[in-house]
């Protein structure tokens, strides 16, 4: 036998990114260290970017003075109430659009018309309707989370496997049982990934909501720091929002693992 054959060159593999732990953290740390080095060495002026260690210091002061929670708690409650109202109405309306022809024909164009409106532009309207207090802030956040939730939910309902619904009908399940036991769990993956987006939007709108008549709140804190060009405080506030975003994303991740373990 001739043994001089050439081995076949490998040309498969790739195109399958995997999550590597700590790489994400490493990117953050590297970026922060880079800015720290730049601001200390002087080739980044303190006017263009605050020094990360100063931001951290500001953050610690905020914590020590007890002001952190004074700002954080009202913000969290606004976020919670607003997002809860918006997401639950959004899911309910989305499911109705997914199930009823008339609701679909009537509301899909309306949702499409509402979606692109920058909700911040409507803040004065909400103040007139719901007053300068908490009401208008809840309304703004709720309205902002409502539209993306509706769109994600009815898309998810549309994607529920019709053969499963036929199966339910063929076994004589009631309409309500089919919705509760087949449509809703089947739409859950789409609803949860929609919530990821709508809750991020809720955080963005939180800052907008606190532009008017809020004494305390992360948004109010950032806006005040911004108008004074106090970059350290501005970044301390932004840091809190970022952490809030990461936290919510992790929360939904946990929810997905708990609820969607059946997925292959």
């Amino acid at each position: 036998m001739d043994n001089t054959g050439k081995s076949v060159a490998f040309r498969g593999g790739g195109f399958a990114p995997q999550s590597r732990r700590w790489v994400g953290v490493l990117v953050f740390v590297a970026l922060i260290l880079f800015v720290e080095w730049g601001t200390r060495a002087g080739w980044i002026s303190s006017l263009s970017l605050p020094r990360p260690s100063d931001v951290l210091d500001t953050f610690r002061q905020l914590y020590d003075s007890g002001l952190l929670f004074k700002h954080l708690l009202p913000s969290l409650s606004r976020l919670f109430v607003g997002a809860l109202i918006g997401a639950s109405i959004g899911i309910a309306v989305g499911i109705m659009i997914g199930l009823f022809s008339y609701v679909r024909s009537g509301l899909v164009p309306l949702v499409a018309a509402i979606f692109p409106i920058p909700k911040i532009a409507l803040l004065p309207l909400f103040v007139i309707w719901f007053g300068i207090g908490e009401g208008s802030k809840y309304a703004l956040i709720a309205f902002g989370t409502f539209t993306p939730t509706v769109v994600a939910t009815y898309g998810a309902v549309d994607n529920v496997d019709r053969t499963l619904i036929r199966m339910g009908q063929s076994f004589g399940l009631s309409w309500w049982s089919i919705v509760r036991k087949i449509v809703l769990p089947g739409a859950m993956p789409g609803i949860l990934s929609g919530l990821r987006i709508s809750l991020a939007i809720a955080i963005i709108l939180l800052v907008a909501a606190e532009m008017l008549g809020a004494e305390y709140g992360i948004g109010a804190y950032i806006l005040e720091a911004g108008s004074l060009y106090d970059l350290e405080r501005l970044f301390a506030g932004v840091l809190i929002l970022s952490l809030l975003g990461v936290l919510i994303s992790a929360l939904i991740g946990t929810l997905e693992r708990r609820l969607l373990g059946w997925r292959t």
């Binding site: 036929r166 063929s170 036991k181 769990p185 292959t264």
Partner: protein, 255 residues
């Protein structure tokens, strides 16, 4: 309970798919429906179970379903139609819950049907953990749980590989021998038809009409893999279908 089809015709807009089908499905027998692709055999099955309505003709139930029958006309689907978020026993309890059967009563039924389909050890498994053959056995167990008068089987073995298909055919024969059930069995596989059918109904290509009804008299229990009698019946069926199948294959889709 018998089923009678009277002059079933159907069309989508101007597109005729079925013409004047009349058929008797006697109690305790398995009636197989074979035909070239697109002849409307699955549609016919959906008419029988009331999931779709024919343009003309009607489906009649003759006599009352036996006592304790929760869902007289029960389907077994080609793609199993199991809820992926429910365990094996959860999928079976799904069809009992609406009849108010819960707790111990439900457990008794579930244990019984799982034992009959040899699935007792898999009660807690999720569908994603099961092979195709196992999934179809869960679907059969689910159908048995509602104690059907007629089983409507829509290509139940077509999504499985040929070894699994043989095993499941044996299981179905065994189930029938232990307790004869009535079934309408739609398939494009002639080997399945001659193995399981007491009657084989051959449909023509679109618009689907009955070409011939072939009776196979050999008792189910005596039929075996590679049986000479069955081979003869299968050859006869293939001769009936061959030209239809070729013509159907050459047709343009939606043409």
């Amino acid at each position: 309970m018998d089923i009678r089809l009277e002059g079933i015709s159907h069309s989508y807009d101007t597109f005729e798919v079925m013409r004047d089908i009349s058929l008797e499905i006697p109690s305790g027998q398995i009636v197989c429906i074979v035909g070239p692709s697109g002849c409307g055999k699955s549609t016919l099955l959906r008419f029988i179970g009331g999931l779709e309505q024919p343009k003309r003709g009607r489906v009649l139930q003759l006599g009352e379903p036996p006592k304790g029958c929760l869902n007289p006309l029960t389907y077994i689907f080609q793609d199993f139609a199991l809820l992926p978020w429910r365990s094996v026993s959860g999928n079976i309890s799904l069809v009992l819950e609406d009849h108010g059967i819960k707790g111990a009563a439900a457990r008794t039924i579930i244990e019984d049907v799982l034992a009959r389909t040899k699935l007792t050890d898999f009660a807690k498994a999720l569908p994603k953990q099961l092979s195709g053959g196992m999934k179809q056995r869960v679907a059969i167990a689910r159908a048995l749980a509602v104690n059907p008068a007629v089983m409507l089987m829509d290509e139940p073995l077509s999504a499985l590989d040929s070894q699994t298909r043989e095993l499941l055919m044996d299981d179905l024969v065994e189930l029938w021998i232990r307790q004869p059930f009535t079934a309408v069995y739609v398939t494009h596989n002639l080997a399945e038809a001659v193995r399981l059918g007491h009657k084989v109904v051959v449909l023509s290509r679109r618009p689907g009409q009955i070409r011939e009804v072939v009776d196979i008299d050999k008792p189910l229990a005596e039929r075996e893999f590679g049986d000479a009698d069955l081979d003869r019946a299968q050859k006869h069926l293939w001769q009936l279908m061959r030209d239809e199948a070729r013509a159907a294959d050459a047709e343009l889709l939606n043409g």
